[in-house]
């Protein structure tokens, strides 16, 4: 900018300089020419007068040599010249000014000399004797004058150059300063020269537009963040170089990463286990991929999908799901199915075998009763098992299995102990009932089922001559029943597992039962809102405690 301003200023200065020079030279030259001619004329007059009076003496005595004086006789021969020897000079009769003077008394001429770049002016007068006196003077031509003016002009030009330089930079600074001073974010308050107004209003308009767009973008981003942050599934967006572009906190939590990790770094800094790497690699190769990630007892499902834009792969989206519970449920279901088929098969095989022997007549008539009893027993076990499974599945579904009533647990315990009395007697197990009336709300069949299963287990897993103590009591927190036995006990590490379906502490099945009893207790108690706890020491016996919520508080 400075350069352009400088050039303009210099151009203007030079143009003005040249124009004024031309003008001055034109005007002054004419003026000087006139002036020189007039001076020449008057000087010629003086000299002519002197020559008229004194003749040759006037010319030879001390005439100044600053101009050329020539005296020519009437025939044209040069009588005198103060610059040259008259004798050597040719006849001047034909010279324009002399001829003119001879004819009309005075004459003038000007001749131009190329070599000297000067103009010589001649003026001649006829004297009274017919001779002619000529005086000549030189005058510089226009070019000579211009040439002479060049030096001062160069000085002026140099001055103009410097001035232009200074002005230009100053002007440029002045022009640009307010532009530089504009606060682009806050154009409204800027005061400046009016030529800037269109620019400022344009910036104002753009600022408004930018603010609008920024607000839109921010809102969209916040919406996206709110959605992804509230997802329980982990979400990761990565580019082709595996850099994380976007992630939510669920992703970090599920991958067990640091809360600050992620964006901008490689996704492998979050997790680098083989299934995860395979998913990322597959997705970045353009194929959808699913994987299962197991760590520290948790199970994560990874779903990786490639992201394409205009047919080119630009990255991948990874979704991380917590499938720990699902996996555990699946595991339980698989175990349950395997267990059920096994448990059903055992009595059926026994029945089938016995029936086959009977069919083939290999049994002595007196043994038929024994074999039939076998079939009967196994069939009963089968029915018991199926019944238990039905009960469990009903509890699982949580459907209504009966009317809620207020039940005295003490009375119920009495009834249940009667039911197991026969079995207890066979094992010589003493049954004791302690405590007093304890009222609890629940479905009578389920309550009975719970107590029955606990007492049945207490007897079945008891030692010969042991005892079972049932205590019913009303506590401030609600009714409580404990069933304590002196049986084989349950090792600490499996105490959690005894409530699982078909789980048996005693793997030999010697105590009978379906393996579903405690499972029914657990689910029944859960259905009634009660809590089951277990304390046990191997070899010393187990105590199961069922705590019911206080009557009146029970929720249905």
């Amino acid at each position: 900018m400075t350069k352009r301003i400088f050039r303009s200023i210099l151009a203007v200065a030079l143009a003005v300089l040249l124009a004024s020079l031309g003008l001055i030279v034109g005007v002054l030259h004419g003026y000087f020419e006139d002036r020189v001619a007039w001076e020449l004329e008057s000087r010629t007059g003086y000299i002519a007068r002197g020559v008229e009076r004194e003749g040759m003496d006037y010319l030879t005595s001390g005439l100044s040599r600053d101009c050329r004086v020539t005296w020519v006789a009437s025939d044209g021969t040069v009588l005198y010249d103060n610059w040259q020897d008259a004798a050597t000079m040719e006849n001047h009769g034909q010279r324009e000014e002399i001829r003119e003077a001879m004819e009309i008394g005075k004459g003038r001429a000007s001749r131009y000399s190329d070599t000297l770049a000067e103009e010589t002016l001649y003026y001649a007068v006829r004297l009274s004797d017919g001779s002619v006196l000529r005086v000549s003077d030189t005058q510089y031509s226009v070019w000579r004058m211009v040439l002479q003016a060049l030096q001062p002009m160069a000085l002026v030009m140099a001055l103009a150059f410097c001035l232009a330089l200074w002005l230009a930079s100053r002007l440029a600074r002045q022009l640009v300063a307010p532009i530089n001073a504009i606060d682009l974010n806050n154009v409204g308050t800027v005061e400046s020269y009016e030529e800037l107004a269109p620019l400022l209003s344009k910036i104002r308009g753009q600022n408004r537009q930018i603010r609008q767009q920024m607000a839109d973008l921010k809102r969209q981003q916040e919406e996206f963040a709110a959605i992804t942050e509230n997802m329980s599934e982990g979400l990761l967006v990565i580019d082709r170089e595996t850099r994380v572009l976007s992630r939510n906190s669920a992703a970090l939590r599920l991958l067990g990463g640091r809360p600050d990790g992620g964006v901008g770094e490689s996704v492998y800094t979050l997790d680098r286990e083989a299934p995860f790497r395979r998913c990322v690699e597959e997705a970045l190769a353009g194929r959808r991929c699913e994987g299962l990630l197991e760590k520290e007892g948790c199970c994560r499902q990874i779903i990786a999908s490639p992201v394409e834009q205009d047919g080119a792969l630009v990255g991948a989206v990874l979704i991380i799901l917590d499938v720990t519970e699902k996996e555990q449920r699946d595991q339980l279901r698989r175990e349950f199915t395997a267990n059920v088929s096994h448990e059903l098969k055992t009595p059926l095989t026994s029945i089938l075998g016995t029936a086959e022997i009977l069919e083939n007549g290999l049994v002595k008539p007196e043994d038929v009763g024994h074999f039939a009893g076998n079939i009967h027993r196994e069939a009963e076990r089968l029915i018991g098992l199926v019944n238990d499974i039905i009960k469990l599945s009903r509890l699982d579904e949580g459907g209504p299995t009966g009317q809620w009533e207020t039940v005295d647990l003490y009375a119920l315990a009495e009834k249940v102990l009667d039911q197991v009395a026969a079995a207890a007697e066979r094992k010589h197990v003493t049954l004791k009932l302690e405590g007093g009336p304890a009222m609890a709300r629940g479905v009578p069949q389920i309550l009975e089922e719970i107590l029955y299963n606990l007492c049945d287990n207490a007897v079945a897993y008891n030692v010969e001559g042991g005892s079972v103590t049932v205590t019913a009591a009303d506590t401030p927190q609600g009714a409580r029943v404990t069933v304590a036995d002196t049986g084989i006990g349950i090792p600490r590490e499996v105490q959690e597992r005894v409530f699982e379906r078909f789980y048996r502490v005693d793997k030999s099945h010697s105590a009978g039962g379906t393996g579903l009893g405690l499972s029914i207790v657990k689910h029944g108690a859960a259905y009634l809102g009660a809590r089951v706890s277990l304390t046990s020491r191997p070899g010393q016996g187990s105590t199961f405690t069922v705590e019911f919520p206080k009557v009146g508080k029970a929720t249905e």
Binding site: E241, T242, R243, R258, S266, Y268, T269, R272, A274
Partner: protein, 215 residues
Amino acid sequence: MRNKFDEQLERLHVELIQMGALCEDAISAAAEALLKGDGELARTAIEAEREIDQKERDVESLCLKLLLQQQPVAKDLREISAALKMISDLERIGDQAADIAELTRYVRLPDGSGLLHIADMARAVIRMVTDSVDSFVRRDLTLARCVCAADDQVDELFDRVKEELIAFIAAGAGSGEQGLDLLMVAKYLERIGDHATNVAEWVEYSITGIHPSSN
């Protein structure tokens, strides 16, 4: 805008993480194979070792390319030279994991014997490898120093395993060959621990610019 150098440096970082992860896979598979006598897992470990070798060559050529074409200085140079050193340690870890995996063909851990410490040792070593890779991934100085400290524990365990094996052979509980094989396994584990320590030391170098062994 990221320039090409930054991008390549990032690529190096990712490749190293992948290589570290492969080592973790290899050593876990080898240890599992040893403890469970699973031939399938042993094969996994041996395959992982091959992959690690390939990765080492890839990372090596990437490092050399970076050094020659970009002439890195200061921190970047440190990181690249540390990477060059690290990959050789990682590669050794992979090799030794494969060696253990091969030995599992002939070795069965005697049931219920007092050789449980070899399992402890395997776990400690896996932890060290994981931590050393983690310290690289997160540029975590404290974790890197923890790895160096854990090596003493592994050395102690090695001594204990050695004593147990001497007792095992002296008692004539199994063939002497098995005892020796187990000693080899223990030695390999101990070496893996050392390599993990080296990796952690190089991590420390790339972060601080001072190699721990220099003071």
